[in-house]
């Protein structure tokens, strides 16, 4: 599929979910790249916000930040404030989208970035929430982007670092999480949302050439399958060229050449 890597397919699919004239609170890495791609395609008036107190960043292609709290992340920003203040903007309701990665996600969209195993006896102690718990609790609509592997898509996360729909139904609201909804999960294989009522993860779209069976096979729990499952459009040459320029800097060869005819 147009020489795109799994990472590129994910990023392009995710970037298409971002509409123009919205504000996205993006985590570093894939979420930021996908947001930057959207802002150079269908959403030129997308405002990208980063947790380092940074509002309205531009990015210098080929000099992307490794963290959301550094000068490259602040390049061309409209406003610089502090970390807490950025999350308070989110809590107030200004941020249309929250955009996250995930080490482990379950059928209710709960994310674990804290521990594999138990807290008492961790097999792997992961870095922790960072801003993810706050972004998923406070932004208006949440997108989760991650690679589609059984070890990542588990029935129940070992530890709820960042609450999705918790145990489904209205459990999120009952926990006191008054705001935010998990809009979509984007992977290299598929696009999923959450079934109204049960709040279970639901297959909505397939990456080109991928089957429902393949997706289910790579998912550690039973996916709800929507009545209509669309095939997602492959990354266009233009999308890939912009994405690669952002990531790697201006190409030595003309963009078109990086995509096979």
């Amino acid at each position: 599929m147009s020489g795109a890597t799994a990472e590129e397919v994910m990023a392009v699919t995710a970037s298409r979910l971002l509409a123009d004239h919205k504000v996205v609170f993006a985590g570093v890495g894939m979420p930021l790249l996908a947001s930057a791609l959207a802002s150079r395609r269908q959403a030129p008036n997308l405002t990208i916000v980063l947790e380092g107190g940074i509002i309205g960043t531009r990015l210098l292609p080929g000099h992307l930040p490794i963290s959301t709290n550094e000068m490259r992340a602040a390049y061309g920003a409209q406003m610089l404030t502090d970390i807490t203040d950025i999350f308070l903007f989110a809590q107030r309701g200004y941020f249309d989208y929250g955009f996250l990665g995930a080490a482990q996600v379950d059928q209710y969209g709960n994310i674990n970035t804290s521990v594999i195993g138990t807290v008492e006896h961790p097999r792997v102690r992961l870095p922790g929430s960072g801003g993810a718990n706050d972004i998923i609790s406070l932004c208006n609509e949440i997108f989760i982007v991650t690679q589609h592997e059984p070890r990542r898509f588990v029935p129940r996360v070992d530890f709820i670092t960042s609450p999705g729909y918790l145990s489904g139904g209205d459990s999120r609201e009952r926990a006191g999480l008054l705001f935010g909804r998990i809009g979509a999960v984007i992977t290299d294989l598929a696009l999923m949302d959450f079934e109204p009522g049960t709040r279970r993860m639901r297959l909505r779209g397939l990456q080109p050439g991928v089957t429902v069976a393949q997706v289910q096979d790579q998912t550690g729990f039973e996916l709800v399958v929507a009545d209509e499952v669309d095939e997602l459009a492959p990354p266009s040459a233009a999308e890939l060229s912009i994405y690669r320029t952002l990531r790697d800097g201006p190409p030595a060869v003309p963009p078109a050449a990086v995509v096979p005819a």
Partner: protein, 318 residues
């Protein structure tokens, strides 16, 4: 969470404290003698931005023991404290090196074996905990953390709004013994100015009992008064001022120098190969082998520092 001082004790301490307008300049060594074994140290900046590295290196050199380190996002400096017995408890929302380096193996080792405690809060929760301390109240209400296992593990409590009846997360004041903050400029009295983003420095300093500011430049009081809106901390909230050019190296200082990513690359490669020993060797080589931070900077070499400064300059040019 483990209990520290109450907000009333913290207030009582500040009430009784002097607020002298005197020359507070000290060497890093002198300033770090204000830190005691077992103290809770709030480390300014976040991840690899404006970390008070000159002060932290001096703490490592002096081998303070069993510190609690709190920080919004913690970087490799945390591993150095764990590996040398300098810290056995971390309060943060995230501990790593940085995205491209994967997990932090030393941190993993200490926490997974139970040799150190990691008290994890959300990023906003850390911010509101420092802010509650800075505001002189015992808690602040918020709407994250709820429903999560980090709430369960930290023993987070909720509070009900007396007007609307909603139940909110109650973030308890975090009251460090000492806050270490790196600034762009400070005068000898402690009036400190920072350019660009402020991270959580303002709140963590105002929540702390003792505040040490390291500054790229110590400037005249007149230079501070020339742009009072840039002042982040007033002199009466600062106890010691340490002049430390490149004092955040190998981390960045907004507008002045970018982080020296190659420096952590080398660190990460060595610990991936040799584990804790490599972290200890890092401290021997880059901290203990030097009389002070400027001697460490000399060993790094002017070329590296110039490259970091050039990177910053490119990003400031719009």
């Amino acid at each position: 969470m483990r209990d520290g001082v109450t907000f009333r004790e913290a207030r009582a301490y500040l009430e009784g404290a002097d607020r002298p307008v005197t020359d507070k300049r000290m060497t890093a060594a002198g300033a770090m003698s204000l830190v005691h074994d077992g103290d809770h140290i709030a480390v300014g900046g976040t991840l690899y931005s404006r970390t008070p590295m000159a002060l932290l290196f001096e703490l490592l050199r002096q081998r303070r023991r069993q510190l609690t380190l709190s920080r919004p996002l913690a970087c490799y400096e945390t591993e150095l404290f764990l590996a040398t017995g300098g810290a056995d408890r971390i309060v943060s929302s995230w501990v790593g090196i940085g995205l491209q380096w994967g997990l932090a193996p030393i941190f993993r080792h200490y926490v997974e074996t139970g040799a150190a405690e990691y008290e994890e809060w959300s990023h906003l929760a850390m911010g509101l905990r420092y802010k509650a301390g800075a505001m002189g109240v015992p808690f602040l209400p918020g709407l994250s953390m709820l429903g999560s296992d980090i709430a369960r593990m930290t023993g987070l409590k909720t509070v009900t709004c007396p007007y609307t009846g909603e139940r909110l997360a109650a973030l308890p004041a975090l009251l460090p013994d000492v806050a270490l903050v790196h600034a762009h400029r400070a005068d000898m009295f402690g009036n400190a100015q920072v350019d660009g983003y402020r991270h959580m420095d303002v709140d963590m300093a105002r929540a702390a009992r003792t505040v040490v500011v390291s500054a790229e430049r110590v400037v005249t009081p007149e230079e501070i008064r020339a742009q009072p809106w840039a002042t982040m901390l007033p002199h009466f909230a600062v106890d010691a001022v340490v002049e430390a050019p490149h004092g955040a190296y190998p981390h960045e200082c907004y507008g002045l120098y970018e982080a020296d990513v190659d420096h952590f690359d080398a660190y990460v490669r060595s610990i991936q190969e040799h584990g804790v020993d490599a972290a200890r060797r890092y401290v021997e080589q880059h901290v203990d082998a030097h009389a002070d931070f400027s001697s460490f900077l000399d060993s790094v070499g002017g070329g590296r520092l110039a490259a970091c400064a050039a990177g910053a300059e490119r990003l400031m040019a719009r």
